[in-house]
Each structure stands twice: as C-alpha cells, then as structure tokens.
C-alpha cells in the first residue's frame, strides 16, 4: 500500500508542474501582453513600461518562469491588483466556502443517491425505476446555475424559507477557525449562528448536488442490478435470507465499489459547478474570486487560483484513488 501511495503521489507532481506551466505560458501570451490587458487599449507606452517593470514583466521569460515556479511552490502568488491583499490571503479566505459547499453537496448526493439507486435496482422495471431514470436524465441535463435560480425563486422568493444569497446574515458573526461558517458556528457552540449558516448553505448545496446525485443514483442502480444477478446473491436468496438483507448485505456491498470510483470522478465537476453556484448565490468562494479576477484582469489572482485549484483537484483525485484501492483489494496499479 505504501509503495502504491508513493507512486501515485509522485505521478501527481509532473501533472501539477505541467498545469502550473500551462497557466504561466497561457497568461504570458495574452494578446498585447498582460500590461496592455490591464491598462486597456489606449494606455500610454510609459504607463505600460511602468507596470511591466512593476510586475517584473520586463525580465527575460525564463527568469519570470523561475520566479513563478518558486512562488507557486511556496504559496506566494503576489499582490492582487484589485484588493491589494496578498493573493494567498484572498485564496485562503475564499477556499473554505468552496470546500464547505462542495462537501455539503457531495454528502447530499451520497445520502440521497445511493438509497434511491438501490430502491430502483431492487424493483427493476417498476414505476419507481422508470421515475428514477427520468429523474436522472433531468438531473444530468439541468444547468446548475438555472437550478440555483429556480431554487431561489421557489425557496426564497415564493416560500420565504431560505435566504436569497450569502453565507451568513449580515450581523451574524462566528469566530474564524476553519473559515467554513457551518463548522465554525458548530465549534463555537452557537445554535442561532449554526442555524443561520445551515439555511444559507441549503439552497446552494441542493443546486450543486443535483448532478452528482443523479450520477451516483444511476451508477448505484446499474452496479446493484449486476450484483443482484450474481451467483452468491442467488445463493443468499436460496438459503432463505430476506430481500432486505440480500440487497443490503450482499448486493450493495459489492455494488458500492464502482460508486466510490464515480464519486472520485464527480469531484472535478463539483468544483466547476461550485464556481457557477457561488455566482448565483453570491457566496465569496473560489468561483466568485476567479470570475471577479478575470473581469478585473487581476492576473496574480488568476495564476494563484489555477495553481491552488489544480493542486486541490489532483490531491482529491489521489484520495479517491487511494479510497478505491482500500475498498477494492483487487485494485493495484
């Protein structure tokens, strides 16, 4: 196991380096150059020269690249043009919101997706099964930003049960520990703040969970239908075990292995969906930070976000691979 882990971790290094290099090269081939992009079409040559000097863009490319790699490795991405804060600080503040949202959505998807897939598989061909298939089709075809808007219209505007946007009601303050409002409110033992954080998280998490929920339900159903046709399940049935025990203990245990693999694949989609969901619900996470950085041509932030997000993505995929190997002893790469 140790060697497998080490090999997988080492394989991630060139991917990370490649992604960082791609981000660096990409942002340095901005038509007209970064300085021109920041200052606009009509900027004077002197102003461009000044900003190029300020950002170190007048250095040879290899010097800039070496400096970029050093800063990427040490987590120093420079100063944001927009907020004038260190990029690392901005990312550090935004990331917990995105992690909280993604984890909540994934949890919802697992808690609802696996049982619905299991029920559909146990009653293959029934009305429940057909309903689930239709639900899955709608779930994977719905754009997350539209789902978010519909939830706001229904849950916030019409019913008034949930807040429209943000992560906490203005005025509600939780002590900063992890940066995730729900976790921090729970740690502080403040039930009012916890309730506030949870109702703020509910709609975005539901919106973001829909796609992985559909996918997980579909995968569970397919894997369980296959598992229920196996000889050992037939044996279990033949020796008189109840349908419930057969499905849960014999079928589902084997069927969950491919589901774990699917969860790993869903994480990238979750991060992408989180970018859009945060925009809909005005949550100050990584997505919100990235979109604003692009609109304001805040290149240090764009570079920083790309490196951090890809690193996170690679790490999460590594964890998913390791979990897969733990769950399924047959997997050895």
């Amino acid at each position: 196991m140790g060697r497998f882990l080490l090999r997988r971790a080492l394989l991630a290094v060139p991917i990370l380096w490649g992604a960082a290099t791609l981000a660096f090269l990409g942002l340095h081939i901005v038509p007209g150059g970064i300085a021109q992009a920041i200052l606009g079409q009509h900027a004077s040559a002197a102003a461009i020269a000044q900003i190029r000097h300020q950002l170190g863009l007048d250095q040879p490319l290899y010097v800039q690249y070496a400096r970029f790699l050093m800063s990427a490795a040490t987590g120093h991405y420079g100063i944001s043009f927009r907020t004038h804060d260190s990029v690392a600080t901005d990312i550090g503040q935004a990331l917990p919101y995105t992690i909280q949202l993604s984890c909540a959505a994934l949890l919802l998807a697992l808690v609802l997706g696996i049982p619905s897939g299991a029920v559909a598989a146990a009653r293959e061909g029934s009305l429940v099964d057909t309903a689930l298939s239709s639900g899955v089709l709608v779930g994977v075809s719905m754009p997350v930003f539209w789902t978010g808007l519909l939830l706001i219209i229904a849950g916030a505007a019409k019913l008034g049960w949930f807040p429209i946007s943000g992560a906490l009601t203005p005025g509600v303050i939780v002590p900063h520990v992890t940066g995730m409002p729900v976790v921090d409110a729970a740690l502080a033992g403040d039930p009012a703040a916890l309730g506030d954080a949870v109702v703020h998280l509910a709609l975005p998490a539901i919106a973001l969970s829909l796609y992985p929920l559909a996918f997980i339900a579909q995968m569970t159903r397919a894997a369980l239908v296959e598992a229920l046709g196996e000889d050992y399940v037939r044996t279990a049935r033949a020796k008189g075990l109840s349908a419930r025990v057969t499905v849960l203990h014999h079928g589902l245990r084997a069927a969950l292995i491919p589901v774990v693999a699917v969860v790993g694949l869903q994480l990238g989609g979750l991060l992408s969906g989180a970018i859009l969901t945060e925009t809909v619900f005005a949550i100050p996470g990584i997505g919100w930070l990235t979109v604003n950085a692009i609109l304001f041509r805040d290149y240090p932030v764009v570079e920083g976000v790309v490196v951090v997000t890809v690193a996170l993505f690679v790490l999460v995929n590594l964890l998913a691979d390791v979990t897969y190997a733990v769950v399924d002893p047959r997997v050895r790469y």
């Binding site: 490649g18 791609l22 089709l137 754009p143 930003f145 706001i152 505007a157 429209i164 970018i275």
Partner: protein, 264 residues
C-alpha cells in the same frame, strides 16, 4: 426502452433544427426589438413567455437563440473532434516521444476542473461568444483524444491491419482506411453526448458574463440578466433555462439511443 428514448431525442433535435432554420418566420417579434412600455410583462396572449427588461419578447429571443445554441454545441464539438481525433490517432498508432508528449498534455488538461480551464482560456483571450466556444472546445479535446487513442491501440493489433502493413501499406493509409472507418460509431456517440455538455458549459460562461455578450439572445446570457429580475419577474430567468434543459435532454437521449443502436 433506450431506442424509444432515442427516437424521442431525435424528435426533440429535429424540432430544434427546424426552429433554428425557420427562426425568422417562427418568431412573432424581432429578437432585438425593444418596447420599453411593455417591459417585464408576464406571459400573456400577446407575449406567450412574457417580456424582458427592455420589453423584448422572450419567446422570439429563445427561438432566435436556438440557432446560436446549436451553432455553439455543434461548432465546439466539431472543433474538439477534429483536434482530438488527430491527437488520438497519432498517439494510438504511431506513439513515440511526440505521442507520449501529446498524451501527457492531454493528462494536464484533464487535471483542470473543466470550468476553470475554460475560465483560464477566457482570461487569456478575453470574453466573447467565439472565445467561449474556443475555450469549451479546448476542454473537450482530451475526451476525444483518450477515446480515439484507446480505439486505435486495439484496432492496430487486428489481423487485417497487420496484413495491410505486411502488404506494404503506409501508416497514413492504414490510419485512414482501417482505423478511422472502424471507429466512427463510438466517436459519433461521444460527440452527440458532448454537444449537450458543451451547450451547458458555453451557457455557463454566458451566464458569468464571459461568453456571448448582450444583446445576443444566447440562453445563458439571457439567464444572467434574468437573475437581476428573478424576485419580481421570474419568467425572464425561467424560460431560457427550460430551453437549455430541453435541448440538452434531446442530445442526451439521442446520444444514448445511438449508443444502444450501435451496440456501444
């Protein structure tokens, strides 16, 4: 079951294509015609799906948008398909250092969460519909490259390929006449399924204000303006989203039906 769903998908797509082709005749109003006196009117007999903040007819804008969405979906996938198939065939058949390098580049592209990669491309090129299409296209390339490489690796070991090679056929002849013709089925299925995903991705960029720009009646951009009025005039954001949903369902059903028909 899957085949009848595929037929339903084909029917949805046929309706969309006809709508796009006859958009000018079908739309009751000009998609850009403003009528501020009737701004933000709810659905009625005169405006079936209501009007937006400039009094433009939402139904007419959705009809006009069909053409743009189909162009985005098919255009981005076509660009990605050409590049991805070329990379996949090269790496799968020839391999070598160049092939290895290309596949590692694909791995790196796959290491990006897809929307982040699109956002990075937009950061480089700037916002706009064509640039958003280029961005979505780039993030779709690795999927085709992976698929085609896998197929090429299997097909090149077949006896008829070996026979052709032994008979002195050149690499490019084998790739064209033996590999490519035998992999169109899975490629077309993948392409159909990708069109829906591309439409969602491009609409997402439009929604973020980084894709199609106003007043273009692109559905994602329409949703973006609809967001500002969703508490008072929910129809502005509801119908363009519904149009995206139906379109994507159409492509997904059709792709799935195609896969069942081909036996993939």
């Amino acid at each position: 079951m899957r085949r009848s769903a595929g037929v339903l998908g084909a029917a949805i797509l046929a309706t969309l294509v006809l709508t796009a082709a006859f958009a000018g005749q079908l739309a009751p109003y000009h998609p850009l015609a403003q009528d501020l006196a009737h701004a933000l009117e709810p659905p009625s007999n005169t405006h079936w799906l209501g009007t937006d903040e400039f009094g433009r007819d939402i139904l007419s804008r959705i009809i006009a948008g069909t053409r743009i969405e189909l162009l985005i979906g098919v255009g981005t996938v076509a660009m990605a398909l050409v590049a991805g198939v070329a990379v996949g065939l090269y790496t799968g058949y020839y391999g070598g250092v160049v092939g290895e390098g290309l596949m590692r580049l694909m791995d790196i592209l796959l290491a990006f969460p897809y929307l982040l990669l699109a956002l990075m491309v937009i950061a480089i090129l700037g916002p706009g519909l064509l640039r958003a299409m280029a961005a979505v296209s780039i993030l779709t390339i690795p999927q085709f490259a992976r698929l085609v490489q896998g197929l090429a690796l299997t097909l090149r070991e077949r006896q008829y390929v070996e026979a052709s090679r032994a008979a002195g056929a050149s690499g490019s002849y084998i790739v064209r006449r033996h590999l490519l013709v035998n992999m169109w089925g899975p490629i077309i299925v993948q392409a159909t399924l990708n069109v829906g995903a591309s439409i969602i991705a491009a609409a997402g960029l439009g929604f973020l204000g980084l894709g199609a720009q106003p007043p273009t009646p692109e559905w994602g951009a329409m949703l973006s303006t609809g967001r500002d009025y969703m508490l008072t005039s929910s129809w502005v954001a509801t119908f363009p989203g519904l149009a995206i949903l139906v379109t994507v369902i159409g492509f997904n059903l059709f792709g799935d039906g195609l896969r069942a028909a081909i036996g993939g």
